[in-house]
């Protein structure tokens, strides 16, 4: 599943950086005020549907990213160093 090319991996990392920022933007005023209106969607207030819909979308994107992010560094992910003697 991991991207093979370093440039693709770098692209995913950049995109992953945007995810929480985008979430923040969409959840904060003034943007969120767009949805704070007396409307309903299938009987559910629009603002509730918006917050929980956005929440679900963020989880799905994070799930999608979680398999695709990989280390740019040379060192392999070091396990909790149980034994690294003599180094």
């Amino acid at each position: 599943m991991r991207p093979s090319s370093p440039s693709v991996a770098a692209k995913y990392r950049d995109a992953a950086f945007l995810l929480p920022l985008a979430g923040l933007f969409l959840l904060m005023p003034p943007f969120i005020d767009l949805f704070a209106v007396h409307e309903t969607l299938f009987g559910i207030p629009l603002i509730v549907a918006y917050v929980f819909g956005l929440w679900t979308a963020m989880i799905l994107v994070a799930f999608w990213f979680s398999h695709r992010l990989s280390d740019p560094e040379h060192h392999a992910p070091s396990p909790p160093d149980t034994s690294s003697p003599g180094r």
Binding site: I32, G43, V48, S84
Partner: protein, 910 residues
């Protein structure tokens, strides 16, 4: 209706179940069957200690009062976790590499393993967490009271004023016992508390299921689906116009900070993490858990508001809504959910705090008292474990006392967010520590202390409404009536929500002082070192400190130290392993810098970085920190970039060289082809005269009756042909010498007209025999730098060609020498057939002949040689392009000075 006895029995049974799960989990981990406990799912569930009873019960209460606001408490952590790659991953990596035991340890370790900083962080954590534990105790006791003492008719007034203190006490005692048994098995904080984690994962599932069950019941049993719920009158709580204001932003920010900075969250997320893959899954699974926890909060709140009588406590809706319709099983499940939320938080928080207290307060005190100094024997390990167990007891006792003292419910209810704001003070030193190398301990201390004091003054103390330190009038009018210093309107800043107000002042002061002091104070060498190691954790290989810290200690002393903290067996194993790594069979490794650093890090995993350093320093001597090395590592990145630039430059150079080589190769191939042509031409040219010489000599040899004139003719042909051959060979030799630059030159100043006249005279004989006429006027004279024989050779060559190749009936050749500008120019023209235009560019090449092949001339080296000679003399030989008939060659040489004809004549006389 549930009886008190039933509730107690079920609580006890549930606690017994937790003990059993913890026991089994611990056993399995010990016997190596720990796969499910180490799974990312269990890790994620353990992070859900974030959802305490304050959120289990309180979220519904908050929703009933302020609508969607409750969601911020879960949205902040969601944003932090979906951005795990950039912050959490770095924290976890640092936690592994430096064997971090708590958030206090992380901050202290980063800032030069400072003990005082660790103490400060521990104090803030304890002050912030103890009321929070009290809140959990209160929630559990209140929930029990609500269940046992109210009948459905009395739900409007749950007896929260007199919480049963005995219940709280026994709950606290039970939690202390559980935590001591399963939370202090080993002293290495990096070793997971498998039993605890297993029990907490179970509790996480119970509270989630309980809330979902109540939510589904409200939506589908009490109401007619989600649309029906949201159409109730009570749903108007959602429509607060100014919901998305500063408080919304502040709460989201605060909860995002809390998920990192709360000691218990740091414990489960960073300290108990065993690999980055756990975090990878938690990055989406934990937000999903939070989303599911919040999904039914609004329906339950609206359901409660619609079903229950006016004035019912919304904080207990999760219990009272199912109670009002007599759903005993659901009530029980909801109670267990709340119980789970409270107990899991208490367990993890007390483990985290006890580690901090024992490592950062007990250990330093012990190290400074003479009777426990390192020289004396004694088991530090046992002492640490005992101190941790006592700490757990003390923390829970403190929580209980706090709960008894602040019986008034209102003071406790707000403590959740107040604690968040308290631990948010850790954020500047934490973020600064892992992203900013320049951040110093002084900056961290001053910032933290100021932020903490401001938080206490503007938020924590006022929340007691005059019962603690600050009197009610001080809160209202400021100390000594100074309005500017009013805790909730500091420096006249009014109109803000108290939480936003406190957060603004405390964090601003914290950040500003942290940054300013960091910039003003030079970091100590160890701070610089730790700063580099922390900030560059992904670039620096683990265990690199020994490159920078040099010190010496005996292996025996180190072993005694290790044994006292890790235990004899573990210490022996560690020493043997390292010795094996050094390639020796002995029990003790060489006490190199690498080994001392390795041991210190290992000890830090048990007693914290500051204490480990203090203890190692007691037996190690001559410590120096090499700043040069440190600079080097800082430069390594720069070097890497430089290196890649160099590589790029080199490859460009290589490319240029390759192009050059290709060009040279092409030239060589061309020259090779030319050489082949030359050879075949030479062979051909040599063969023709040779053939005629051979055939005529054969005739002479074989034919006996040859007449004398015939033989004479044949002999003269042979003679001519051999002359031609000699000329050809001379020319080739000459050309070859000239090509190699070996021809002899006799350069000196001379009058150019002299060799010119001589050449013309030489050719007159040939012209006569060819019937050609040479027109040669008196040439101008000028001094040129030349070899007279060579110049003469050139003129003769061209003149000969002009005579030989002239096929017209009355051949004429014109020769003139004159001065043009600074040049001496000789022009030789004839009235011959001229050179066809397509051959003109090639006449100076070897083996080209301007006219068609004829037997009269050489093989065509003449012009090439002449051109080369003129080049050597610094002049030119060119074919003049004109439309007249015949051919016109021009020879030009730099002239030095003009001499008078008289002089020349004098010279001629001499």
């Amino acid at each position: 209706m549930l009886s008190a006895n039933l509730i107690f029995t079920i609580s006890l049974a549930y606690v017994a179940l937790l003990f059993m799960v913890a026991f089994v989990g611990d056993r399995q981990a010990r016997t190596g069957q720990s796969s499910w406990i180490q799974s990312p799912v269990v890790y994620t569930l353990s992070i859900s200690v974030y959802c305490t009873s304050w959120t289990f019960y309180g979220a519904v209460g908050s929703a009933a009062r302020s609508g969607l606001e409750f969601a911020t408490i879960y949205l902040g952590p969601t944003l932090v976790f979906i951005g795990w790659w950039f912050l959490l991953r770095k924290l976890v990596r640092i936690g592994h590499v430096h064997r971090i035991t708590s958030i206090a340890d992380l901050i202290s370790s980063r800032y030069g393993k400072s003990t005082s900083l660790a103490v400060l962080v521990t104090l803030i954590a304890v002050i912030g967490t103890t009321p929070y534990i009290a809140l959990q105790l209160k929630a559990v006791t209140t929930s029990i009271q609500v269940i046992v003492s109210s009948d459905p008719g009395n739900l409007a007034n749950p007896p929260s004023d007199q919480p049963a203190s005995e219940i709280a006490f026994w709950i606290a005692a039970g939690m202390a016992l559980f935590t001591i048994i399963f939370g202090t098995r080993t002293i290495d904080a990096n070793e997971r508390h498998h039993g605890v984690v297993a029990a907490i994962a179970l509790e996480a599932l119970v509270k989630l299921l309980a809330l979902i069950a109540v939510g589904l019941f409200v939506i589908f049993a009490l109401a007619d689906g989600p649309a029906d719920i949201f159409s109730r009158e009570a749903a108007k709580v959602l429509q607060t116009e100014d919901m998305f204001d500063a408080r919304w932003v502040a709460l989201t920010f605060l909860s995002g900070v809390a998920i990192i900075c709360l000691p218990r969250q740091f414990q489960v997320t960073v300290v108990e993490n065993t690999g980055e893959d756990q975090l990878r899954m938690a990055s989406w699974l934990f937000p999903l858990y939070l989303m599911l926890m919040s999904l039914f909060v609004l329906p339950i709140a609206i359901g409660g508001l619609s079903v229950l009588p006016e004035g019912a406590d919304p904080d207990m809706f999760v219990l009272t809504v199912p109670m009002s319709v007599g759903q005993d099983l659901l009530v029980l499940l909801a109670f267990l959910g709340g119980f789970s939320s409270a107990t899991s938080m208490v367990i993890v928080a007390s483990i985290a705090l006890s580690t901090m207290i024992s490592n950062h307060i007990v250990m330093p005190v012990m190290l400074r008292t003479p009777w426990t100094s390192i020289e004396r024997s004694g088991d530090v390990r046992r002492l640490l474990l005992v101190s941790r167990r006592i700490s757990i007891g003390v923390i829970l006792l403190l929580g209980y006392v706090y709960f008894r003292l602040s019986g008034k419910s209102d003071a406790l209810a707000a403590i959740g967010l107040i604690a968040f704001a308290g631990v948010a003070q850790f954020l500047p030193p934490l973020l600064g520590g892992i992203y900013w190398k320049r951040a110093t301990a002084t900056g961290a201390k001053i910032g933290l202390a100021t932020g903490f004091i401001l938080w206490g003054y503007t938020l924590f103390l006022p929340s007691f409404e005059g019962d603690l330190l600050l009197s009610a009038s001080t809160i209202e009018h400021g100390p000594l009536g100074i309005g500017l210093l009013r805790p909730q309107a500091l420096f006249g800043l009014t109109g803000l929500d108290p939480l936003v107000h406190a957060l603004f002042w405390s964090l601003s002061a914290n950040v500003v002082l942290f940054v300013l002091c960091s910039l003003l104070v030079e970091p100590k060498p160890l701070e610089r070192l730790q700063g580099t190691l922390f900030v560059d954790v992904f670039r620096t290989p683990a265990g690199d400190e020994h490159r920078f810290i040099r010190r010496s200690a005996s292996a025996e002393d180190l072993f005694i130290l290790a044994q006292r903290i890790l235990g004899a067996a573990e210490a022996q194993r560690l020493f043997r392993e390292f010795a094996a790594g050094q390639g020796s069979d002995s029990d003790f490794p060489q006490p190199t810098d690498a080994f001392i650093a390795h041991l210190e890090r290992r000890l830090a995993g048990s007693i914290g970085a500051a204490s480990a350093r203090a203890m190692v320093s007691q037996i190690a001597s001559g410590e120096t920190i090499s700043l040069d090395e440190l600079m080097k590592i800082a430069d390594e990145t720069a070097q890497l970039m430089e290196y890649s630039q160099e590589v790029e430059k080199k490859s460009i150079q290589l490319e240029a060289t390759a192009r050059e080589l290709r060009r040279a190769n092409q030239r060589l191939t061309l020259l090779d082809a030319q050489k082949d042509d030359f050879l075949s031409q030479v062979s051909h040219e040599v063969r023709t005269p040779m053939t005629s010489i051979r055939s005529f000599s054969e005739i002479l040899l074989e034919t006996r009756d040859l007449t004398s004139p015939q033989a004479q003719r044949f002999l003269s042909i042979i003679h001519e042909e051999s002359l031609r051959l000699t000329r050809l060979l001379d020319e080739i030799l000459d050309m070859n010498l000239m090509d190699r630059g070996e021809a002899s030159w006799n350069l000196h100043e001379l009058d150019a007209s002299v060799p010119l006249s001589r050449a013309v005279e030489t050719c007159r004989g040939l012209a006569r025999s060819a019937g050609a006429e040479i027109h040669f006027g008196e040439p101008a004279s000028a001094i040129v730098m030349a070899d007279p024989d060579r110049l003469q050779q050139v003129v003769i060559n061209i003149l000969t060609n002009a005579i030989k190749h002239n096929t017209t009936a009355e051949p004429e050749v014109h020769v003139e020498g004159r001065l043009v500008g600074g040049e001496y120019v000789i022009e030789i023209s004839d009235n011959g057939p001229g050179i066809p235009s397509h051959l003109r560019p090639f006449i100076f090449e070897k083996f080209q002949r301007g006219a068609a092949q004829s037997s009269t001339g050489g093989i065509g080296l003449g012009l090439a040689i002449s051109k080369e000679i003129m080049k050597r003399l610094g002049g030119t030989l060119a074919l003049v392009e004109d439309d007249g008939p015949g051919t016109r060659f021009r020879i030009a040489l730099n002239a030095k000075a003009l001499r008078s004809v008289a002089q020349r004549q004098n010279q001629a006389v001499e």
